[in-house]
């Protein structure tokens, strides 16, 4: 691993269950994310992508391997060390449904300022930083006094991103950040996220749909049945996929370039994959 990696996962293995029910859900995963990089972690139901994300943030114990966050090996971190790490806000997590991750009783202003106050930043400074991030998210300052339940889905997701950004993290993991939104809001969030690239924050997009984030990522990693079957620059993964599953995934993604003609190609890829 180079010193510029903000996240390094090495030979990670995760099991669920005990005894005869013990199942390996992740096997030999190695993946690094360097400063300011945007990586798409693509996988479908049961691929292990959520487990990988949970393992990285310390929510799923792993049986083998190492996770290094911003130079700190967290593989054997104690609860206290994890808490300190989270407080520093080096890495943040944005979930698909912000209604479940934002405190329903906190106003937008309180939600965004909370991580700053926890770090001991004075209230006045926290408030002015909150306003700056509200602007960055193209949210109206009028919304600062509202509760999450009084916002639209797109506004809520932008508040969640603002809250993640306010601690100036080095890495944000976004779990299906646009899947639940309609087109206008999807485009707006994607534009904002694209703009974030200039701030140097690294982004990991976790999604089942390669097509929804491909335009934003430098690299794409494809998870299939608990293994990383392909990792590479977005352009080469999409134009020259090496693994049968990646080829099927790309040929299956709905695009405006009529995919009807690819039907027979998909047919043979499915046969190959199931063989």
């Amino acid at each position: 691993m180079t010193t510029r990696d903000v996240l390094a996962v090495e030979d990670l293995e995760v099991h669920y269950g005990l005894g005869r029910r013990r199942r390996r859900v992740l096997d030999g995963i190695s993946l690094s994310v360097s400063d300011g990089e945007a990586v798409g972690l693509i996988g479908e139901t049961g691929s292990g992508k959520s487990t990988l994300a949970r393992a990285v943030v310390g929510l799923a114990p792993f049986s083998r391997g190492r996770v290094v966050i911003d130079g700190q090996d967290v593989s054997k971190a104690t609860k206290r060390e994890w808490r300190d790490l989270r407080r520093r806000g080096v890495m943040q997590y944005v979930f698909q449904d912000p209604l479940r991750s934002l405190d329903p009783d906190l106003t937008v202003a309180q939600s965004i300022a909370e991580p700053l106050l926890i770090r001991g930043i004075p209230g006045a400074e926290a408030a002015s930083r909150t306003r700056a991030f509200i602007d960055l998210m193209r949210l109206d300052a009028e919304l600062l006094g509202r509760l999450p339940g009084e916002l639209s889905g797109g506004q809520r997701q932008r508040v969640a991103v603002a809250r993640a950004l306010v601690t100036e993290p080095k890495l944000i993991m976004l779990d299906e950040p646009v899947s639940a939104l309609d087109s206008a809001n999807r485009v707006q969030i994607l534009e904002i996220l694209k703009g974030l690239r200039q701030t140097g924050v690294a982004l990991v997009f976790i999604s089942h749909d390669l097509g929804s984030v491909a335009g934003l990522t430098d690299r794409i990693a494809v998870l299939y049945q608990g293994e990383l079957v392909e990792v590479g620059p977005s352009r080469s993964v999409i134009n020259d996929p090496q693994h049968v599953y990646t080829r099927l995934l790309i040929d299956s993604a709905p695009t405006l370039r009529s995919a009807a003609a690819k039907r027979s190609e998909r047919e043979s890829l499915r046969a190959l994959l199931n063989a």
Binding site: E44, T45, D182, S183, A184, R186, V187, L190, H208, D209, L210, G211, S212, V213, A214, G215, L216, S234, R235, I238, N239, D240, L248, L249, I250, D251, S252, A253, P254, T255, L256, R257, S258, A259, A260, A261, K262, R263, E265, R266, E267, R270
Partner: protein, 291 residues
């Protein structure tokens, strides 16, 4: 393999135009009687046998209400306030319950987003399909069972015999949607409405279901009305596309026209999303041919 704009699309429009539409909407308006508010402000299209019409729009655009109006299952306070809907030549305005029961399943049928909620969780899936066949086609139990198995097989479910005796909770979303499609086409309808039928599925499974629908239409001449929020999903299977927004049809044309000559800003936004953030950015350079 490169796709030249418009060229692939001919593949989906290669079906010869048929005579009388099996489903026809003429300036249909839908009104909420409780509030007096109009929700759908006029939608018209013709769907002929073997053809596929798509409706794209977001939640609240009126696309699902349009489908429900065509199926005669609008929520209580909603009515078709003007315009007409005809199914296989019958104006639905004058239909009684008995006539509706005859039409549903046998002439017009539908599948929706969440397949599990349309199946009885405590009955095996096979008998649920067989029941539709027994009632609609008036055949004996044994015959209904054989036909249900044959349907499951034709929908490319692996090991149809074992799927037949499984309960809904034992099947994946993609398998459940196939079971629902089997039940929907069991009585050989002429029109199938697929309202966000692949939205909740993984992309590879979504493609399988869309391929299956395309294959059904080619094999049986089934007419399809495909409703989705993703323009690309609709573009993949449809000959003709309507774009709806807040109850208005803002764009209506052949798939090629809508994709390559969009007239409305909203359609352009839907296209721009794909062009800027989707795979399209990369796909224009040809993929290397592989052995």
């Amino acid at each position: 393999m490169t796709s030249v704009a418009g060229r692939d699309l001919e593949l989906t429009t290669g079906v010869p135009p048929a005579a009388r539409p099996v489903l026809s909407l003429r300036d249909v308006h839908i009104r909420d009687q409780a509030s007096g508010r109009e929700i759908v402000h006029g939608i018209s299209f013709d769907l002929a046998a073997g053809r596929v019409v798509g409706i794209v729009g977001e939640s609240g655009s009126g696309k699902t209400l349009t489908c429900r109006a065509a199926l005669g299952i609008l929520p209580d306070q909603l009515v078709v306030s003007s315009g007409s809907i005809t199914i296989d030549g019958h104006d639905i305005a004058g239909l009684n319950v008995k006539r509706w029961t005859e039409l549903r399943g046998a002439t017009i049928s539908a599948v929706f987003q969440d397949p599990a909620s349309y199946l009885n969780p405590s009955i095996q899936v096979g008998p649920q399909i067989a029941e539709v066949i027994r009632v609609k086609k008036k055949v004996r139990r044994r015959e209904a069972r054989d036909q249900a198995l044959e349907l499951l097989r034709s929908l490319q479910l692996r090991r149809p015999e074992s799927v037949y005796s499984q309960y809904p909770f034992e099947l994946s979303g993609g398998m459940l949607q196939r079971v629902l499609i089997a039940a929907a086409i069991a009585a050989d309808p002429r029109v199938l409405i697929a309202d966000e039928a692949t939205t909740a599925l993984d992309v590879t499974v979504q493609a399988e279901i869309l391929d299956l629908l395309a294959e059904l239409r080619e094999r049986t001449g089934l007419a399809l009305l495909v409703v989705a929020h993703d323009l690309a999903v609709v573009a993949q299977v449809c000959d003709e596309v309507l774009v709806m927004r807040q109850g208005d049809v803002v764009e209506h044309g052949t798939t090629a026209d809508v994709l390559y000559r969009p007239q409305h800003d909203y359609t352009r936004l839907l296209i721009a999303e794909h062009e800027q953030y989707g795979l399209e950015r990369f796909l224009d350079s040809p993929r290397k041919e592989r052995a």
